[in-house]
Each structure stands twice: as structure tokens, then as C-alpha cells.
Symmetry: C2
Subunit: 316 residues, 2 copies
């Protein structure tokens, strides 16, 4: 088993991002608390710079690059949120970034990535293969969207802030794509509050982590089918799986219909605009798949909000 | 001129609401800051209990009622946000509430008011007359939606929190219906930071306060025409006008089209769901009507978010 991220590494990531990213708020929801019969908190990470938690991991990873690597530039692959975060974070450090994105990516995410100064390569081919080919050709440094200890430690800062805000938290629910956020948050929460349960949520049509946990090894999906583009990772990270095996108590899957219903509730009742990936965490509360001891303090991470008007309208 | 609300009265209102309402967050916006060429903060009062700032004034007013008045019950008139706040606040104290609402009120606001335990009277007739008739018949206590010093002191707590969060604020922009929020916030801001400018924003189709300021006396509108139902007050409060005359530097008007554009920007860029009234404050930034010294610290109050899915979809 690869070494797991430590509390010292997470604390270091907190120092790296301090003053450069938002300390996002945690709020309570009367509506969801009534539904859950338990006090419900929402960590509003959709208010993070670039619209998702992703710059936490990016800044932490970029902070370790030497001058030479910075001069050569960085590369990654992403459906959009990591793309925006990497373009933004690299530009802030004067580093050139190349991001391989699927041709099916949300146009607004492609535009935003370019707007932050990233060089976007759109492809219909395998993202990782395309990315690794360009990386070798141009001698770039890969900043993996999730399967990297520096990225996991960065995303873990979400969990640190959550435990600071809700010290008596009993259940933490986190959406999962490749597993960067889930593995990071689970690590921070379990190391600081071992009694808390951590639950991961995946779309039924892109459940690489659930399948990987069940098989005990990283699974690669032949195809994905979900509206939650932010969770559409074609494989679970090897290192992420190790953290999930160590620290996550349960994986749940939800349908696209469940995710749309969750998005509607967050809009109407909580007055926030998550993207589908950002709404997924609360979907199992609405369906009843999430079981909570009455009175337990439950926290959901609303991990992203990059959705444009037209797409939002089509989902309402 | 009637006596203006004092800092002592506002501090007292802070004690009344402490622990009973949310201390709503203030966030910054990169997108709006770039647009304004100045640091922009948003006070997210749409996250307040009942979905708007209204329960601040309601709780402060209710706190002054004696046992006899509480036993008889309270009454008011409202297009929706004060209705919800009064129903919620009264129920919390075991007081019966009656709210006269226009038959054209948003159905979701009527439902929410009933859901909080309020007795709703829908009418096509004049709201205030209907309200005063029922008040006399049933010997109820009127909790006016804005023209009341206890309500103004309650709404002023928004301004106190804003100055705590942005101590160097230079410009504060607030939407205006009857003027409860505007007069309260202006009072708090000017008493604590006299150098700050306070600007009120009204819909073109319901600009009672602008007209009242221009005429020097409260103006009653013959008709109103705006999508911002939360700002559709048929008259400016007498006491509110006095506070606006004393503390507000400028009144601006915006069109419904401006408000819809502002709502879209807040949704897409700031990931929050204001109702039209809650988006109105930023509309003059987008149109250019709001002039800001470069680098001045600007704060906008996002005052409410009570809008249902169907209406939101129709506005996108």
C-alpha cells in the first residue's frame, strides 16, 4: 500500500493556500435539517476561486515545483474544474499550462480555462494517453487532477476547515469523481475526528470508485453516462483508492434524476447554484439511501458551481 | 422631522436577534471586482432564515410586545418576504399572525407563509386598507413591514454586520422597496463610518422612494410594474423617507431588464440564487449607472432569495 497523506502534509497545504484562496463558509439549512431529522451543514466550496475546490490541490502541487519545472510548464487532463483551477493557479505563478479536455466538455468550462490563460487541447481520444503524449513531447510536468499526494493534501484542507466549523460533525458526505476530494477530506476528517463517518457519493453512470472498492483494485470504465461532468472520471486514482479504503466508510451511487432533484432543492431552498457534481452529495439524503442516526450532525460538501445559464435552465 | 433610530437602538436589536437568526456571510467576487475596477463584497442576506433580511426587523418589533398584545396576535401586509418573516417569527413566540397579501403574490411565498403558520388573507383591494380594517375588527397589533422604528433598527443590523466584515467599506448599495432595509442599513453605516456613501436602488416601475425624495414628502404610487415583487411597495414609509433624507447619498432606478441581467450574473458568476429584488442592487453596476472611485471598497446587499424553480426558469 502506498503511504497515505499525513496531517503534517495537510497542515502544510493549509499554509500554502492561506491568503490565496477563499476560506469558504459553512452554513446550516433548516429545510435539509428537517428532512434529515438531524442538524445539516453545507460547506459551500462552490464559492471557492474558479468555482470549485480544485485550486486547493493545484496550488499545493505547484508550490513543490522547482524553477526549471516552472519554466517548462505544466499539463493536465480535465473535464473542466481542474482545468480552470490549473490554468488559474499556473497563471498566478507565471507558469504556462496546457490542459487536455474532452471535446464534449461544457463550453463555459473551456472558455473559462482559456480565460484564465490555459492552453486547451480538445480531443475525442483517451484523455490520459493524449495528455501523457504531449507531456513527453514538450517535457512538461503533469499535475494530475486527483492521483497525487500533493493534490490529495490540498483537497484535504476542505476537511480541515469543515472540522473547524463543525467540530462535533458525525457524518461527512462528499461527491466522488476520481477521488481527489473524497480521499483528502476523508483523511483530514478521520485523523482529526475518528468517530465521524465519511461517505462517498458517485453517479450511477460513472462509479469507478465504488467498483474499485468492490474489486479491491482501480477500475477503468469503458464508458460513462452522467450529467455530472465534474464527477465523470474514467478511472479511480490508485492513491485515492488507498485513502478511500483506509478512511471512507461507505460508497453510495445516485442516478442523474436524483442529482437533478438535489440541484433543484439546493437552488430553491438553499439559494445556491451548484453544478450537478456539486449537488450530488445531497442526492442520497433526498432518496433515503443515506441513513443517519437521529440527531447526528451531518455535513455535505457542495464542491462546485460551474454551470452556465442555458444548461441550468435546461435542468430546471 | 421624526426622531431617527439611534446606534443604541440598533445595538439592542443585535442583542434581540443574536442566536436566533443567522450571522450571514460576506463574500468577495472576482468577477464583479474586475467589472467595478474596485474590490466588491456581497453581503449574502438571501441566506437569512426565511430567505430574506425581513426576520431581523420582525423579531425586534415582536420583542417589544407585552403579554396582552402577544395573546391577541399580530397583523401585517406584504407581497411575501415580510409575510414569511412575520409568520415565522410570530410562530416561534407562540403568537398568532395574520398577513394580508396581494392575490398576485408569488404562490411559493403564499405557501411558505402558510407553512410557517401564518393566516393569509389574499385580496385584490388596497393592502393597507384591508390590513387596517382587519386590525381594528380583531384588535390586532400591526407590525408594519417598514415604517416602524423597531423594524428599521432590526434591518440596520445588516449594516452593522457589514461594517464589521468590511471595516474600510466606501460605498454600500442597497435595494429599496418601502425603505426598511435601506433606511436601517444607511443609518448603521453612516453612524459607524460617516465617510461611506450609501446608495439606494429601486425598480423603475416602483420608485416610490426616489419620487418621495424628489418631492420631499412620501409619495403613493397609483400603479406598479416590476418583476421585483420584493421591492413593489406602493408607498415609501414616512419614517423611512426621513432616514433616507438624512443618510442616503443617492437613489438610482433600474429597469426589469437590468434586474434580470443582474440575476443572471449572480447565478452564473457568484453561484447564488437571488430573487429579482435581491439582484437589483448590482444592476446599476452592470449598466454603468453606479459610478465608483477606482479602488473604493464597494459592498452590495443581496437581500433575498425567495424564488421558485419555475419562475427562475422563466427568467433565465
Amino acid at each position: 500500500m502506498p503511504p497515505l497523506v499525513t496531517l503534517a502534509e495537510i497542515s502544510n497545504a493549509q499554509s500554502v493556500i492561506a491568503g490565496r484562496l477563499h476560506r469558504t463558509p459553512t452554513v446550516t439549512s433548516r429545510y435539509l435539517s428537517t428532512l434529515a431529522k438531524s442538524p445539516v451543514s453545507l460547506k459551500l466550496e462552490l464559492f471557492q476561486k474558479t468555482g470549485s475546490f480544485k485550486p486547493r490541490g493545484v496550488l499545493n502541487a505547484l508550490s513543490t515545483l522547482d524553477q526549471d519545472a516552472r519554466a517548462r510548464g505544466v499539463i493536465s487532463l480535465s473535464a473542466g474544474n481542474h482545468a480552470q483551477a490549473l490554468a488559474w493557479g499556473a497563471s498566478a505563478l507565471g507558469v504556462r499550462s496546457t490542459i487536455v479536455m474532452p471535446r464534449t466538455a461544457q463550453q463555459s468550462k473551456v472558455d473559462a480555462t482559456r480565460g484564465y490563460g490555459g492552453d486547451v487541447v480538445l480531443t475525442d481520444a483517451d484523455l490520459l494517453e493524449t495528455c501523457l503524449t504531449i507531456q513527453r513531447e514538450r517535457n512538461l510536468t503533469l499535475i494530475h487532477p486527483f492521483d497525487d499526494p500533493r493534490v490529495i493534501a490540498g483537497q484535504a484542507t476542505v476537511g480541515m476547515e469543515l472540522v473547524d466549523d463543525v467540530p462535533n460533525v458525525d457524518v461527512v458526505v462528499v461527491a466522488c469523481g476520481g477521488g481527489g476530494l473524497l480521499s483528502g477530506v476523508a483523511t483530514a476528517v478521520k485523523l482529526r475526528r475518528p468517530s465521524a463517518r465519511v461517505i462517498g457519493v458517485e453517479p450511477e453512470g460513472a462509479s469507478a470508485m465504488s467498483q474499485s472498492v468492490a474489486r479491491g483494485t482501480p477500475v477503468r470504465l469503458d464508458r460513462m453516462d452522467t450529467i455530472a461532468d465534474g464527477l465523470a472520471a474514467p478511472f479511480a486514482g490508485r492513491l485515492n483508492l488507498a485513502h478511500v479504503q483506509a478512511y471512507v466508510d461507505q460508497m453510495l451511487v445516485v442516478t442523474d434524476k436524483d442529482i437533478v432533484a438535489a440541484l433543484g432543492v439546493l437552488l430553491e431552498r438553499c439559494k445556491i447554484v451548484p453544478e450537478p457534481a456539486g449537488a450530488a452529495a445531497i442526492a442520497p439524503l433526498l432518496t433515503g439511501a443515506l441513513t443517519i442516526d437521529p440527531g447526528a450532525n451531518v455535513a455535505f460538501i457542495i464542491c462546485g458551481g460551474n454551470i452556465d445559464r442555458a444548461r441550468l435552465k435546461s435542468l430546471l
